[in-house]
Subunit: 559 residues, 2 copies
């Protein structure tokens, strides 16, 4: 094993990198000046309408993962490194990622742009406000909330029931004190008192809409369809009823354009949209992914958390909507996460434990089966961490070989693209094979059956149970004619089940759906299981405590 491991911080490595002017990156993939709007020297927005369309768009590689630890398994790092590796061996490639949410950046993570020598740049700008997309979504979301409360205050012509308003406010912040609030207090001049709450922006339906919209016209139509609540007569009230879809679209007219940046190795990267995968659909925007397929032969993209969450939603929600499909899938695995899945205590994951590792492979095994169920043969990226021992690495490689699963040791964190060449070759090999992709359920199936299919075929569970409240909601959804939509499961990322502590590959479990929420703008039905937080909290010592700015304006302590 390589013992001279580089232990510079991500930010230090990022700052040492020499970036190319973003025009040069744009130029390298044929983006004309006309399609490019610069945001500083190293960021740009591109106008998808000004990108010429290829007859044969590029292929799509989806990077997903096993069930992760709380720290994540380096999916973005592998996504970036894989793209850099492909570039190194002469493949035309673009990487397509999600935008980081500021809440987790300030809270735990400190950054979400890959790590080590596999990062997108400028990491500090991307991790902070980037080109303003998430702020625009926050603004549109909260403008809608203000229009709703103003409607109540000004006489409530639409007869909206203040107890049945489902539209919540959002902030791009981890702020638990805003989860449950009462608003409109203080007397007749201060609005109508009612219960409310804030979600984190990446959980907003508008984030999902931005990521699923085909263009500006589709965006406006989706915004108009949002159900914000119900009247006293229990009839749905939409944004169209309020007449503000034009204003909301106006607030998002720049946010809908994908952002162009570069990796440390100069690979073009489109970063656009960023819904979480446990509470939302977890994929970057269709517009960015589609645009990327017209800019390169291969697009490497990721979906959040494990294959049970982001990848399932990539297949059933994003791909179905967009009319494309992944041509290859990479599952990122780490020794530490497998040991945790094998029962090793969280604070002992740095200790060698081949037995725990091998027990934990059951989790990997299920995710492999899931991807195969979609008709795709996955490739495993073993994302190397410093604490991994030679014995452990060997054990996992052998296990995969025995199981006939393609695996490559991936050292992109330490070595950049050079550490991902073996992975790149395995993936390119899969791309040469014809695609047999097929979704696991039809939109016309009943809501219950669609969820059952996901529970059984993706989670490996026995069945699904709906609470009485959820059953009643389903009856309502059917009566409104809203049932022929894909399902967006809200489930813990830590377990294949809905219980975070049930590790490995649980079987015989049932999933309980306690609420079914229609998201007509996004075009899916959210099924809530377990205690899924839509507004995270900050830890006792937030990452923010280490952050600073040097006198010359350089970011410090950002991760």
């Amino acid at each position: 094993m390589n013992v001279e491991v580089n232990l510079l911080s991500d930010l230090t490595i990022a700052k040492q990198a020499v970036m190319q002017p973003i025009q040069q990156i744009a130029n390298s993939i044929g983006i004309s000046e006309d399609a490019l709007e610069l945001y500083g020297k190293y960021k740009a927005k591109i106008d998808p309408g000004k990108i010429s369309k290829k007859k044969n768009p590029g292929k799509i590689v989806l990077v997903t993962a096993i069930s992760p630890t709380a720290a994540g398994e380096g999916k973005s790092t592998v996504t970036v490194g894989l793209a850099d590796a492909m570039k190194q061996i002469g493949q035309s490639v673009v990487v397509a990622l999600r935008e980081p949410s500021l809440g987790p950046v300030m809270g735990v993570k400190g950054g979400a742009t890959g790590g080590g020598y596999a990062q997108v740049l400028p990491m500090e700008e991307i991790n902070l406000h980037f080109n303003g997309d998430i702020h625009a979504i926050t603004t549109a979301n909260n403008a809608l909330a203000a229009f709703i409360d103003n409607h109540l205050h000004q006489g409530n012509d639409l007869n909206i029931d203040p107890r049945r308003i489902s539209w919540k406010r959002v902030l791009d912040m981890n702020d638990r004190a805003l989860r449950h609030i009462t608003i409109g207090l203080g007397g007749p001049g201060q609005g109508i008192p009612r219960e409310d709450g804030f979600d984190i922006t990446v959980a907003s339906e508008i984030m999902a809409i931005l990521c699923l919209a085909e263009n500006l016209v589709d965006l406006k139509e989706r915004l108009a369809r949002i159900v914000i609540g119900y009247t006293y007569a229990k009839e749905p009230v939409t944004v169209r009823d309020l007449g503000v879809e034009g204003a909301l679209t106006l607030l998002l007219k720049e946010a809908i354009k994908p952002n162009l940046v570069q990796t440390i190795e100069g690979t073009p990267a489109l970063i656009h949209g960023g819904p979480f995968a446990n509470i939302a659909h977890g994929c970057n925007s269709i517009i960015a992914t589609r645009t990327a397929t017209h800019l390169a032969g291969v697009v490497v993209t990721e979906a959040g958390f494990g294959a049970d969450l982001g990848a399932e939603k990539f297949m059933h929600i994003k791909s179905r909507q967009a009319g494309f499909a992944p041509d290859a899938v990479v599952i990122v695995a780490t020794i530490r996460a497998l040991k945790m899945q094998g029962g090793k205590a969280k604070d002992q994951l740095k200790e060698e434990d081949v037995d725990a590792l091998l027990v934990g492979t059951s989790n990997l095994s299920k995710h492999v089966e899931t991807i195969r169920a979609f008709g795709i043969e996955p490739v495993i990226a073993l994302n190397k961490f410093i604490a991994d021992t030679e014995e452990e690495t060997k054990a996992l490689l052998s296990w995969c070989q025995e199981q006939n699963i393609a695996i490559a040791l991936t050292e992109v964190w330490e070595k950049g693209g050079a550490g991902g060449v073996e992975l790149a070759k395995l993936v390119l090999n899969e791309l040469d094979k014809p695609s047999n992709f097929a979704p696991l359920y039809d939109l016309e199936d009943s809501i219950e059956n669609k969820v059952r299919t996901i529970v059984q075929q993706v989670y490996g569970g026995k069945d699904v149970v709906f609470t009485d409240a959820a059953k009643k909601q389903i009856d309502q959804l059917v009566s409104y004619g809203w049932d022929a939509l894909p399902i967006c499961m809200a489930k813990t990322q830590y377990s294949l089940s809905d219980r975070p502590k049930l590790l490995g590959r649980p079987t015989d479990f049932t999933i309980t759906v306690r609420e079914v929420k229609p998201k007509l703008g996004a075009g899916f039905l959210v099924c809530l299981t377990g205690d899924i937080m839509t507004m995270p909290g900050l830890p006792k010592k937030p990452a923010a405590l280490n952050m600073d700015v040097a006198e010359d304006g350089q970011a410090l302590g950002l991760f």
Copy 2:
């Protein structure tokens, strides 16, 4: 009178204008490529550290107004038009404005970038998210709120009294339902329940700080000084105690750079910072104004609402802090506002009424005296509106002549810079005279005397009364040693007094100060009078109802 008045909307006029690439504008005032960060083709941020300093910085022209109507008297329009006029007659000039707040744009105004042929461009971008400064301020403000509530939740080591937290959350939105809220509801995992509320972002202390900071180091020091509340032992708690001034500065490191755009006539415009003038200090940033003085011979800037508010604060807060002073002052007056000040009913302001107009000149007269009290001879800009009659215009011009007040009929809305040449000449004439500027009070005066000076010399009132609560607060401020700071009055813009309906030139009135709030980061003491809203509401039919986007991405209905 000219009857062929152009009635195109501001947005239509703005779209018909041909903009120069922003590099060309930068070039015209000697801003190097190196100092310029492009935000699209027509906006940029500039790095003040990379602007070379002149030995003799440019002169500053401050544009203020009489007591305005609810629609405003076109101060931004005159500011832009005056700069364009100066450019037309060969003067090197930069205009320095505030950034529009989205709340009013969505609510009543629809836009705040000047009007007619005296606008800054691209008006739709400037009116929407611009370059993200206000979003960054919102984010920093709310991150601090989240850190405070997280501190309470995680054990409250600092012993903060949840009832005495003065730091509020903000949104750049008109949202009355958020004025008075309760947060932290829902049980032990959801934070500490307490009363809270949202202000509009432009009322935030961080907005004031950004506008008064000299540079990044000063910004961080000011953020550290913010008092967020008090302990159970009534000791002040600051941002420094929480240890998050570095993170907050990091969130603002781009927002602190001024934004460069252009007027319809290609005059360079720095637009940066945007506090309201009734609840905050109402001026654009010191950094932008100072930078502008190093880029041109004359800087035309504005301060919010009437001379009793924005201009007074420009003199006593901004100028004192920055060490500069206005070299000339323009007071914008309109026939309609003067008629209103003269007692004409709001819905009859379009009717000719010379008598009401002449009665209303008492208001103008007081503002002229106020500016003279600061040692500056003001110039009146009569901002022409379509409904003004020839008789009215003549009457006002004669009145000014009799009073020995310089006045110019200003038609920049209709004619651009050409409509402001007479005004420009009068102003340039004043700039040739030596400056006798002096503030009206010393920082070392007692709080009571500082307020009394403003009430008597600026508002023309008899005296000031402090409520018992305010007196107690003053005692506390003195005991903490926080009294040697300038005063930031929070007062209605509609009257020289604290009663919005007391028009003209009231005398013999007293002002009641009901609360004195220390803003140690901004470096001033806010004295609240009357019912000053820090979070506006939306009207029954918000401007947003008319907004839309065309298929090609063009903004519609934004004006």
